[in-house]
Every structure is written in structure tokens, then in C-alpha cells.
Amino acid sequence: MHSRGAQLTVALVILGVLAAGCAKRPATAELASAPAPTGAASTTPGSMTAAPAPSSSESATAAPAPAAAAPATSAPAAPGARPSPREFVAVAELKDVFFDFDKYDVRPGDAKILDANASWLKSNDNLVLIEGHCDERGTNEYNLALGERRAKSAMNYLVSQGIQASRITIISYGEERPLCTDKTEDCWAKNRRAHFLVKPR
């Protein structure tokens, strides 16, 4: 009933117009749209279900199995080497250090805090978890990376002061665990921190 020849032609013309309107380069726009991930759109809804490989119902059960297993096996350091963060507790002697906006280097004034933390850790043979945190400004994934770098900066400093790297685990929470939720510089400054937790060996 539908899809008569002329109408299809029209549809193509209109599509061309739409693509050109978006892309500003009519010639390349239509080419560029061809290999899109949803390129199966030109097929029927039924055949859509079979489109890309990993989860079509048959291959789904086959493919993901190695996918699930393989990364775990190719990450020998992961299991066991990562104690559960829940087992760590804060101690009053270990103080937070804070960071400038968008920075992860230890501020000169904070070095003495890390010196004191290192000195306490030398006389208390605990495992250490260093959390890296960010303020809410910044996008999620970037902040996860930035928080990690803050934790790592603090870790590197402790190691430079003679704490064994093997005692230390780091974790980034990005902007996900703020101490303070106001939208002020004071508050943001409190959130840009490395926090120290310990657990007995």
C-alpha cells in the first residue's frame, strides 16, 4: 500500500535535505550517515534484533562468557590485591590534605601534614587506603581521573618518606562523596582532598 516508487524517491530527497541541513556538507553528509551504528535502520524492525553481534540471543550466551572471565584473568593483580574499602577505618592521627582547583600536586603547606601522616604510619604497621576526592565542578569521568591522581600524589609522597608502596591502596571517588554540599568556594575547597584510612595487617 505504501512505499510507492515515487514516494520513496521523495523520501530520499527529503532525507538528503535533512542531512544537508544538519551537516552543512551535503555531499559528505549522506556518506557519513551510511555506516552509522544504527545503519540497520533501513531494514525491517524484525531484522534489527539480529544486527550487531554480541547480544543476539544465540551468540549472547556464547560471547559474553569469555568477556566476563577474560578481563578478570588478565588482571591478576586485581583479586586479592584489593582489600575491601569497607574494612578500612579513619584514625584521628591521619589528617586530610587538600588540593587547589583542578590540581593534584601536594601544596607546599600540606607537606608537613603528609610528613606527620608518614611518621605515624612508620610506628603503626597498618595497611593504608587513600581516597582521592574532587569538588562538584568538572564532569564525572574527568573527576574520577583527577581524584585518582590526587590519591596517587599523596601515595607518592608517603612512599618518598619511606612508607612501603605495598602497604598502600588508592581509590578515587571523583565528585561522588563530597564532605560539603554547598555551592561555595569554601565548601568546594573542603571536598578537594585526599583522605586516609587504615586497617590492621
Partner: protein, 445 residues
């Protein structure tokens, strides 16, 4: 020759919908009926195709839930969202199997300015709902039937019938299926307790994907729209998992290396996943083969490399890096070579390659965050939002005509969508809590 009239009308109507330069279009080779349209698009405009959508007529079963009215309303909202249609208001239904009543209705709608009419016929049988859509051309006195098609769904997901009808109507007038039958996945909840949820693309029908009580972030759809990769702290550390929200199937662990496991991005063929890992010292981009489980490192730099995104043909990736000082968008090939900086001056994260391949959306930080797009060759960077608050996490509709994003312009983080030129910025979610970290699905299977 009536056919040619509607053809010409539709062309004119659509030609003025999208702003832009004035490309001179010639149609593909004329078919047997000798179509010969030569179109010169000049400038923008807001003229849309007016479509009449009376309540769907119930032809079987008892519509106690008011589905006939709701489906017409949702179809209308979908077509309005497309930016291509204007819905002509209507009340009442057209009786079934009554040619004269249909003719009178369409005549009235045509007089009210409608160019096309949708007659939906709804049959309710047990727990199934079936809709037959009949699409009419109201610009000629015969009210020619343009298309008719049937869709069926469990009655519990009857809303999808409206989305499918809307997508078919868009298909009839543009040659490409619409994007209403899609989902948006996002993280919902306050910091420290975010779960992944998914909803229809218009925000309706939100349903939990995760319920693990930890922090869950960055849900990302696979190209077959059947699974979501996401970062979760459910085992304590930020690891990557894969959920199958439409199936009873356990979550898979994709990457649980020491350090961060973030920023999942499925390759267009669904066989691999680009991701950010810091297991080798600092955040770098890798590609995980989902079949063999092998891991390939793409970036080697002391800076932060994150936010990978694939070009639609899989021949390139874009990512964000601070190797040049501030974060900027770079592109590289899937071997990690031929790295090229795409954006300069500013602070840019979250690049997302458009499904058409022609543009990359990203988040620029200048005090507040704004959504920008840049052509894939690095030219023509332009800002799309100017919303008073922060605007982040752009995600493309499968046809590349819309971008959804998170904004706190009204207080809480909510999901909004806009057309790719930045117009028509409208809320998708109006949730009580924060809705962030979103991903627009491909068309559902």
C-alpha cells in the same frame, strides 16, 4: 499526478524546517513516474507539517485504561519532539468502518490546516494490544492513504505502540525512521547513592537497572540496545560491568583492574569496548575485545586520557586529554596512532561522536559547563547551551538530530534534550532526585 502534488508540498514544508546554508539538492535518479524535483533551500524557518491525530479508535476489547486517548497523545508528543511536525488538536474519535465519517473528519481537519491525518485503530486482546496506523494525505480531496501498518505489544508496554507509530510516520515523510522508540539510561539519586535507571526517551516509565546500593555511573548502551556498560562501586572499587536490562541475566564484570575502570564506549560493531583504566599508572585509554577478553592499550602519556568515543564506522576514536595542559578533545585511529588535537582554547571533556559522523559534541568548562559541538575535522566549534546553570554529558539521538544532556538550570540535575542547532531545549525528566550521567539508546530491537 496527485501524488506529485503532495510530493511537492512535503518537499516545500520540510525544506524550510532546518536552518543552514543553501545547498542545491538534486534528487536521486528519477523513477518510472518521472519525478523531477529541483530544490533550492534558502534559509531557516519554522514551517512544519501539520498532522491531525484524533484519539485512536478502539476496534476490539474494552479500553478501560484510556489507551486510545493516551496513544494519540503520545504519538503527537513524539511527532512534536521530532521538530518536523505540528499536531492539530482534536477531540473525539473517528468511528471504525465508516468511510463517510472518515471523509468528513479529514475534510474538517484539512480546513483547520492539517496536511496529513493519522487514524489509529486499537485492538485489545487479553494482555496484548495491537495498533493499526493509517496515514492519510489531506492535501488532496481524495484523502489518499499514504501508508498503513500494524504494531503489537504487550498491553503493559502499550506506550511503545505510540512510539512505533510516530517513528513510522517520520519514516514515511523523511525516509528515515524516527527515534521515539528508544530509551535513555541515566544515574539517579544523590551523590554517594546513585543507581542506573532507564526510561523511555521522553522520560516516561523509569525503571531500575541496578539496585546494589553503591555508586553507579556512566551507563552506556551497546549498539544493539540490549545491554548497558557502566561503572559501579558495588565491589568497593570503580569497576566496569555490563547489565542486560531486558533479560533475566546476571551482570557481567567487564573490567576490575587496580585503579579506575571508567568511561565505557562500545565500538559500533559491539565487539569491543573502549574504556579508561589507570592500572598502568595513570588514566589511559584501552580497547577490550568482548569476545576474546584481550586488552589493547591505545594511549601512552603521563597526562589524563579519558572519555573515549567511537566514530560511527569505527575507524577513529575521539577522547579527552590534558596532555597539552588543559583538557581538550583529540582524535586517533583504533591503533592509537595518528593522534591529532581537535579543540583548543578552553577546557573540554566528554566528547561524543554523532551517529552521522559529521560532528562531535562535548562539554566545555568556562566557569559553568556548556554543551558545544565541533565538526569532525575540528572546524566550526559552536556553543549550544547557555542555560544559566551547568550543562554536561551530551548524548546523541540515533538519528543525530537531537542531543540530550544533564543540566541543573532549574536546581536539581535533570535531563533535557535539544535539537542539534541548540533550539527547543526542553526537560525530559522531572524527577524528585538528581538525574545525571545519561546515554541515549540506539533504536530498540
Amino acid at each position: 499526478m496527485k501524488l506529485r502534488r503532495i510530493v511537492a508540498l512535503v518537499l516545500v514544508l520540510f525544506a524550510v524546517v532546518l536552518p543552514g546554508p543553501a545547498p542545491v539538492m538534486t534528487p536521486p535518479a528519477a523513477d518510472a513516474q518521472g519525478m523531477d524535483v529541483f530544490l533550492n533551500v534558502t534559509g531557516g524557518g519554522t514551517k512544519k507539517l501539520n498532522i491531525a491525530i484524533p484519539e485512536f479508535t478502539v476496534v476490539a476489547g474494552a479500553d478501560t485504561a484510556g489507551n486510545g486517548k493516551q496513544l494519540a497523545s503520545v504519538t503527537g508528543a513524539d511527532l512534536t519532539f521530532s521538530g518536523l511536525f505540528s499536531v492539530v488538536a482534536a477531540t473525539g474519535t473517528i468511528p471504525a468502518n465508516n468511510a463517510e465519517a472518515l471523509r468528513r473528519s479529514w475534510t474538517d481537519f484539512a480546513a483547520a490546516g492539517a496536511h496529513a491525518g493519522l487514524h489509529g485503530l486499537l485492538a485489545l486482546r487479553g494482555d496484548r494490544a495491537e495498533v493499526e496506523m493509517r496515514l492519510y494525505d489531506l492535501t488532496n480531496p481524495d484523502h489518499r492513504l499514504i501508508a498503513s501498518k500494524k504494531f503489537e505489544q504487550p498491553i503493559a508496554s502499550a506506550r511503545r505502540l505510540a512510539h512505533k507509530v510516530a517513528d513510522e510516520i517520520v519514516m514515511q515523510f523523511t525516509g528515515e525512521r524516527g527515534i521515539a522508540d528508544t530509551k535513555i539510561a541515566y544515574a539517579s539519586g544523590p551523590r554517594g547513592a546513585k543507581e542506573v535507571v532507564m526510561a523511555d526517551y521522553d522520560g516516561a516509565g523509569a525503571a531500575s537497572v541496578t539496585r546494589n546500593g553503591s555508586i553507579n555511573l556512566s551507563p552506556t548502551w551497546s549498539p544493539d540496545a540490549r545491554s548497558l556498560a557502566f561503572t559501579s562501586y558495588k565491589q568497593g572499587y570503580p569497576d566496569l560491568y555490563r547489565a542486560f536490562p531486558f533479560e533475566r541475566r546476571p551482570e557481567q564484570t567487564l573490567a576490575a583492574f587496580a585503579g579506575i575502570n571508567t568511561s565505557p564506549a562500545f565500538s559500533p560493531d559491539g565487539r569491543s569496548l573502549a574504556l579508561t583504566l589507570s592500572k598502568d599508572g595513570n588514566p589511559e585509554i584501552y580497547v577490550l575485545d568482548l569476545v576474546s577478553g584481550t586488552l589493547r592499550r591505545l594511549t601512552r602519556h603521563a597526562g589524563i586520557d579519558t572519555d573515549p568515543t567511537w566514530a560511527p564506522a569505527g575507524q577513529m576514536l575521539a577522547f579527552a586529554s590534558d596532555r597539552g595542559g588543559a583538557m581538550h578533545v583529540y582524535v586517533m585511529d583504533p591503533q592509537g596512532t595518528n593522534v591529532r588535537q581537535l579543540t583548543t582554547s578552553g577546557f573540554h571533556t566528554q566528547p561524543r561522536w554523532s551517529p552521522r559522523g559529521d560532528m562531535i559534541a562535548y562539554t566545555q568548562r568556562t566557569g559553568a559547563h556548556e554543551i558545544w559541538v565541533v565538526d569532525a575535522d575540528g572546524s566550526n566549534a559552536r556553543r549550544l547551551t547557555n542555560g544559566g546553570g551547568d550543562n554536561q554529558s551530551p548524548t546523541w539521538s540515533p538519528n543525530g538530530r537531537h542531543i540530550a544532556f544533564q543540566t541543573n538550570r532549574q536546581g536539581r540535575w535533570q535531563i533535557y534534550a535539544m535539537l542539534v542547532d541548540g533550539s527547543a531545549q526542553e526537560p525530559i525528566t522531572k524527577n524528585a532526585g538528581d538525574s545525571t550521567s545519561l546515554s541515549w539508546s540506539p533504536r530498540l530491537p
